[in-house]
Amino acid sequence: MATLVSRRIDWTGIVFAVLLTIAIIGPLLVVGIWAFTNVWRFPSIIPQEFGLRWWSATLARADVWSSISMSLTLASVVTLLSAIICLPAAYAFARLDFPGRDILFFSFLAGHAFPKFGLLVAIAAIFLQLNLIGTFWGVVLIQLVGTLLFMIWIPVAAFQAVDRRMEEAARDVGAGPFRVFWSITLPQAGPTIAAALLLSFVGTFYETEGAWLIGAPQVRTLPVLMISFINNQPVIQFGAVLSVLLWIPSFIALLFARRVVNSGSFARGFGG
């Protein structure tokens, strides 16, 4: 039997969708066009000459390649360290009851509750005394702080969602507590934790203020390099090409996320 509900066109919804699309796609499109433009002079609407000239110019620079490898190394190291530190902590938050648990749990929000730059400047002052300014590990430390929230809160939700009977059943057949965590709890929470790792990797890759304030000028990540290009070079194309390069990791992350993260895990991670 057919339903007799007439479908009305939701004009408000369509307007919002179109505006949102323009707001998101528009700038991306402009930057994308600039990256493949050789000549584009006012008042022409489309570039006079397309081409890959600025790509070869950008990729020929040694500082671009060193900053790409710096960014990848940094994001990998930070994500790995963050996992080693945060996953056991998240498990403790999810499964154990200890005094001050709730206050500690919400304290991770504190780093994100205040203006970030103020916090960074304060930390930079401390790092200066510790001789961490301009060092790789100084940048690692500052970026670790940024990943704490994701890497604690999302895995906590993931661990809480694991059926305790599964863990008990594993104890029952002879697995010790650590083996249970490794063979049962971690794989069960796997997809959601993979989402947290992705977020942490991509977040670190794009993090700019901390990396610039603590790392400059010795440690130059791709976003930091882009800032200096924008500030120092009169040529728009350098920045545009770097922007397109910067999209690559998030694009790969998205593809990966679609495969690894089954629907709902992301939402579960955020308590949805």
Partner: protein, 344 residues
């Protein structure tokens, strides 16, 4: 060849609640004992203490004379089947069964042999490569049973294993589990709140209430000779009537029956199937409702003082709402101060 001994085991939860209160039980080799009771009676807590998932506050648990009271679960020779089957969904059936064997450093070919044998035993030969979510509820519970059995535990623990299954499947599985248990002669402790399960499977039933034992007996004895009014009311259907005994007769709600006990208050107990009805003008009770179950009928009767009793009849079509009837119990029991004082 395994004997489970539970001696004066108690479990207090934080806040002082007594979940299990000085409980003792011996389970003989190859015996299946059912812990039966309403929720909150402590039966699950007791089972979890035997499995090592709860630490007893006091008391002693031994298996074949060996003290296991405070051992962690992984070091106990017990195998537990959980209510929610608790299969590891990221492994296939084979890996679920092989996990415990791998932890015991069993050889690959031996693992394969054992897993195939146990799958055959539970009627799931050839299901090894299936994912757990590709199985039906009954099959999942069979895999959970196989996961415990493959390790050849000394004591098998079943925690309401059929609770999530539908009625038909439940009946079939309990026959299967009973068959397997008898074939392997494995000592088994079984927790349930379903009296049908307990009556049909157990060698002995422990009726529990508020963390204590009400009665431990064979199923037929628990049914026919309940020692407390709680057991009488919990197992099967029982008409329980509070009344007074004076000069060897029980009085309440228009009833007057011979009851050769001393004067004082008493609870009269009559099974519906031991209650004869006869139509009568100005009878003791009025028919409230007649229910036909096909094999038999149940008649709900209103007595004075808002007391209702049930009687089982062979021919429900002989009775209808509003009729006046007389009751004649063929067998009664009587309780006083929580204990049985008379049985005919």
């Amino acid at each position: 060849m395994s004997v489970l001994k539970i001696s004066s085991v108690s479990k207090y939860f934080p806040g002082g609640t007594k979940a299990v209160d000085s409980f003792s039980l011996d389970v003989a080799d190859g015996e299946l004992v059912c812990l039966l009771g309403p929720s909150g009676s402590g039966k699950s807590t007791l089972l979890r203490m035997v499995g090592g998932f709860e630490d007893p506050s006091s008391g002693l648990i031994t298996i074949d004379g060996e003290d296991i009271t405070h051992l962690p679960p992984e070091r106990r020779p017990t195998g537990m089947v959980f209510q929610s089957h608790a299969l590891w969904t990221h492994m296939n059936v084979f890996d679920n069964l092989a996990f415990g064997l791998k932890l015991r450093r069993t050889g690959k070919s031996e693992i394969r042999e054992k897993v195939e044998a146990v799958l055959d035993l539970v009627g799931l030969a050839g299901y090894g490569e299936r994912k757990t979510h590709q199985l039906s509820g009954g099959q999942q519970q069979r895999v959970a049973l196989a996961r415990s059995l493959v390790l050849e535990p000394k004591i098998l623990l079943l925690d309401e294993p059929f609770a999530s299954l539908d009625q038909h499947l439940r009946e079939r599985l309990r026959e299967e589990v009973r068959d397997i248990q008898q074939r392997l002669k494995i000592t088994t402790l079984f927790v349930t709140h379903g009296q049908d399960e307990a009556l049909s499977m157990a060698d002995r039933i422990v009726v529990m209430r508020d963390g204590r034992t009400e009665q431990i007996d064979r199923p037929d004895v628990v049914y026919r000779n309940p020692q407390t009014p709680f057991v009488a009311g919990f197992i099967g259907t029982m008409n329980l009537i509070d009344g007074e005994v004076a000069h060897g007769r029980f009085h309440r709600a228009g009833l007057s029956l011979d009851l050769p006990i001393s004067d004082g208050p008493a609870i009269l107990a009559m099974r519906p199937e031991a209650l004869d009805l006869s139509l009568a003008d100005q009878g003791q009770a009025v028919v409230h409702r007649v229910t036909d179950y096909g094999t038999h009928g149940l008649v709900d009767l209103d007595l004075p003082e808002a007391i209702r009793v049930k009687a089982m009849v062979d021919h429900p079509d002989r009775f209808s709402t509003g009729q006046s009837v007389n009751l004649a119990p063929r067998a009664v029991a009587a309780f006083r101060d929580g204990r049985q004082v008379f049985r005919s």
